[in-house]
């Protein structure tokens, strides 16, 4: 029984509840749903943010995320997993991206959502630019995101190409 997986890269907003319901709909074995939503903040360290602009690498973004979703489905007994990542200009308060994972039990749903987020942060070809009142700056990658992603590397498995 294979997991029902969905990956979408889009400019438009999404509805997390609708996406999660698409996975559980008609499934009598769905017992646990975990969702993550990333939201555009209105400030960073107290400095107001006017908007974020997300640039991505079309084609590679889908392929990269799909491969991590397939990885997650191979590692945990998932009923389904959906990842949607927006691009373009996003205003404070708007959703940036979402992950939804569904399983029979909670441990798999939590682990898979956490795993997908860690990989999306460090491996999905997206770049955030922040508009502040004094100009636009590219967001810098965080060392803690690399450390978080390394938690999932299996000994003997080829480490992430960096």
């Amino acid at each position: 029984m294979s997991a029902q997986t969905t990956v979408r890269i889009q400019r438009e907003p999404f509805d997390v509840a609708v996406e999660a319901a698409k996975i559980t709909s008609g499934r009598t074995d769905a017992g646990a749903v975990v969702t993550f939503t990333g939201i555009c903040r209105g400030e960073e360290n107290g400095v107001p943010i006017a908007a974020l602009t997300l640039e991505h690498y079309p084609g590679m973004a889908e392929a990269e995320i799909e491969s991590h979703v397939a990885d997650a489905a191979a590692r945990w007994p998932l009923i389904g997993a959906t990842v949607i990542h927006r691009f373009g200009r996003i205003a404070p308060g708007e959703d940036i991206m979402m992950v939804a994972t569904v399983s029979t039990h909670r441990a798999a749903a939590f682990a898979a959502a956490d795993f997908l987020m860690d990989y999306l942060k460090t491996r999905a070809p997206f770049w955030k630019q922040v508009e502040k009142t004094d100009g636009k700056i590219w967001v810098e990658a965080k060392a803690e995101d690399d450390t978080a992603a390394e938690r999932w590397t299996l000994p003997g498995k080829d480490a992430a190409a960096e």
Partner: protein, 91 residues
């Protein structure tokens, strides 16, 4: 494929790498001797100051061959599209 024939490859740049180089993509003829991503970065760096600026700290530059992440020592082989970009900040 013979290594002695120059290959045309599409290069794509993203985020501040794109901004520094001043274009999102270009087709280049790879000279013989440019066998790896690291070779390509060195060759591009010598092409002009915009490239030198983009690649001034090669350790932070990430690369993809045909839309898959690769390391600097990766062989270019029969690549049709090579991309350079900063560390990713999605999610």
């Amino acid at each position: 494929m013979s290594e002695t024939i120059n290959k045309t490859v599409k290069l794509r740049y993203f985020a501040w790498v794109r901004e520094r180089i001043g274009k999102p993509e270009e087709d280049v003829e790879l000279p013989a001797g440019v066998a790896t991503i690291a070779d390509l970065v060195a060759w591009l760096t010598a092409r002009g100051e915009e490239y030198a600026y983009a690649f001034e700290n090669p350790k932070v530059i990430r690369a993809a061959i045909d839309r898959a992440h690769v390391k600097p020592q990766a062989s270019i082989g029969n690549a049709t599209e090579i991309a350079f970009f900063p560390p990713m900040t999605g999610g």
